[in-house]
């Protein structure tokens, strides 16, 4: 699971208010290179929840992202954004609901967001 996806996933347990973002507990993170596409990245900057991205990246061991979005979209900034958003893969770990503590497992890079009967 890459952070571009993590930035979209919410906890869908009934009654939960604080659905997003899910906290990441990383057990295995791998890096996979992806082609650098500045246009795509600039387009994504408008849609990304920045804090969730920064916190998510930190949980996966990457601390280079600035806390605040920079007004100057410098090349080096975009490269860091690119790396965090697209190149870090959570292979094994959990996504944790901030409100309930419920853990959604991530196995072989695939998050499992299925709810139990009593959570619906």
């Amino acid at each position: 699971m890459r952070l571009i996806v993590h930035n979209m996933l919410t906890c869908n347990i009934k009654g939960v208010v604080n659905k997003f973002p899910l906290r990441i507990e990383a057990e295995k993170v791998i890096k996979k290179e992806v082609d650098f596409n500045p246009d795509f990245l600039r387009h994504m900057l408008a849609k990304i929840e920045w804090k969730a991205l920064v916190d998510g990246a930190r949980s996966m061991g990457y601390t280079e992202l600035p806390d605040q979005l920079e007004s100057e979209e410098s090349y080096s900034f975009l490269k860091k954004f690119h790396h965090a958003l697209l190149e870090l893969h959570l292979e094994e770990g959990s996504l944790v609901c901030q409100e309930t503590g419920r853990k959604f497992p991530v196995e072989k890079g695939v998050p499992n967001m299925l709810l139990h009967e009593d959570e619906v």
Partner: protein, 348 residues
């Protein structure tokens, strides 16, 4: 100890109620197990814990059944048919015997015709984010993401499918555009209004609660976004008809068992649901004639040497699935099974 049900127990859901849906409230009502059903479940799970536990775990049992079915059969399907797990779209009455690649093209055409029917092709530039509900191994997602340059997320109950879908995306250098998760279409892990296009290609058949399924599709659609549902349905009921004929229902029940389909409804039922949720520009069509060559072609590939060997290797679910395919042909021929498309737009 959780009482797990065999899929056959699910078939005793009051099917006549499910088939004769006229209003969303009826739909929701029919999904609660009747007292007759509770007794059946009690008998089926003799010696295990409370009946209420059995009743509530039926949905989980269905989900597990679907996941296991696709965990087992996806590899086989992909080996023989490739990464699109849906019907091809053909010109009606085309008597030409198509090659394998002809059928593959027909499957691509199904995607294109669906997009065109929904009016999406004219509005390409507006499609930025897509959700593929019941994504299989991601054929539609990767195709649509490439076509529109859009981001696409797919959800499936099968971990095997999700992994394979991600691997194929990586192999096609689409990892930055498409990704796949295990999630329930009835409880999508996304915020309201996320997606410009909500795509459900032949997954509606698996949903035990059609009202909830449609509500979720609508919820995650962005204002102005489009919803496309392509699904197997049963024929529309005539005026005054409360349910399908018993022999028709019997045919569908036999298909349900093997393919883990909990309930059939009609195209009209979907239209009514969408109307009740105030969707706009609701359109539907019967494409049964356009998919007629599909099942005979699937059977032909199953009967090749490669097909038979692969089937035997895959396991019982695959074999049972193959044996059930003639029933699909019978269902289409007798006008019980329809291949429907229903599309609409969420108001701004």
């Amino acid at each position: 100890m959780k009482a797990t049900l065999a899929p056959s127990s699910l078939i005793s859901l009051p099917r006549h109620k499910v088939s004769s849906l006229r209003s969303p409230s009826l739909l929701i009502q029919s999904q609660r197990p009747s007292s007759a059903l509770m007794t059946t479940m009690k008998t089926a799970s003799r010696g295990s814990v409370a009946v209420t536990a059995a009743a509530t775990s039926s949905v989980e049992a269905l989900r597990e059944g679907i996941a296991e079915f696709y965990n087992e059969t996806s590899g086989l399907w992909e080996e023989i048919w490739g990464d699109h797990m849906h019907h091809g779209f053909y010109d009606p009455d085309s008597s030409v015997q198509l090659s394998d690649s002809g059928h593959r093209e027909a499957q691509i055409r199904m995607i294109e015709e669906s997009l065109r029917f929904a009016g999406v092709t004219e509005e390409e530039k507006k499609i930025k984010r897509v959700v593929d509900v019941g994504c299989g191994i991601g054929g539609s997602s990767r195709y649509i993401a490439s076509k529109f340059g859009a981001e696409c997320v797919g959800i499936t109950l099968s971990p095997v499918q999700a992994k394979r879908a991600n691997d194929l995306a990586a192999a096609q250098s689409l990892s930055h555009k498409v990704s796949f998760q295990v999630a329930d279409a009835l409880e999508q892990p996304f915020e309201d209004g996320m997606f410009d296009l909500v795509w459900s290609m032949e997954s509606g058949e698996h949903m035990p609660d059609k009202a909830k399924f449609v509500k979720e599709l609508v919820r995650v659609a962005a204002p102005g976004g489009r919803i496309i549902i392509v699904t197997w349905c049963h024929r529309n009921l005539s005026q005054g008809e409360e349910a399908l004929q018993p022999w028709e229902q019997n045919l569908l029940d036999r298909i349900c068992k093997t393919f883990y389909l909990p309930a059939w409804c009609s195209t009209s039922d979907y239209v009514n649901l969408l109307q009740s949720l105030s969707l706009q520009d609701i359109k539907c069509a019967d494409w049964s004639e356009n998919v007629a060559p599909f099942w005979p072609a699937v059977i032909r590939t199953a009967l090749t040497w490669k097909g038979l060997v692969s089937l035997l290797r895959s396991g019982m679910k695959s074999i049972k699935g193959a044996l059930t395919m003639p029933l699909m042909i019978e269902g289409y021929k007798k006008g019980i099974i329809k291949f429907g498309i229903i599309t609409c737009q969420k108001p701004l």
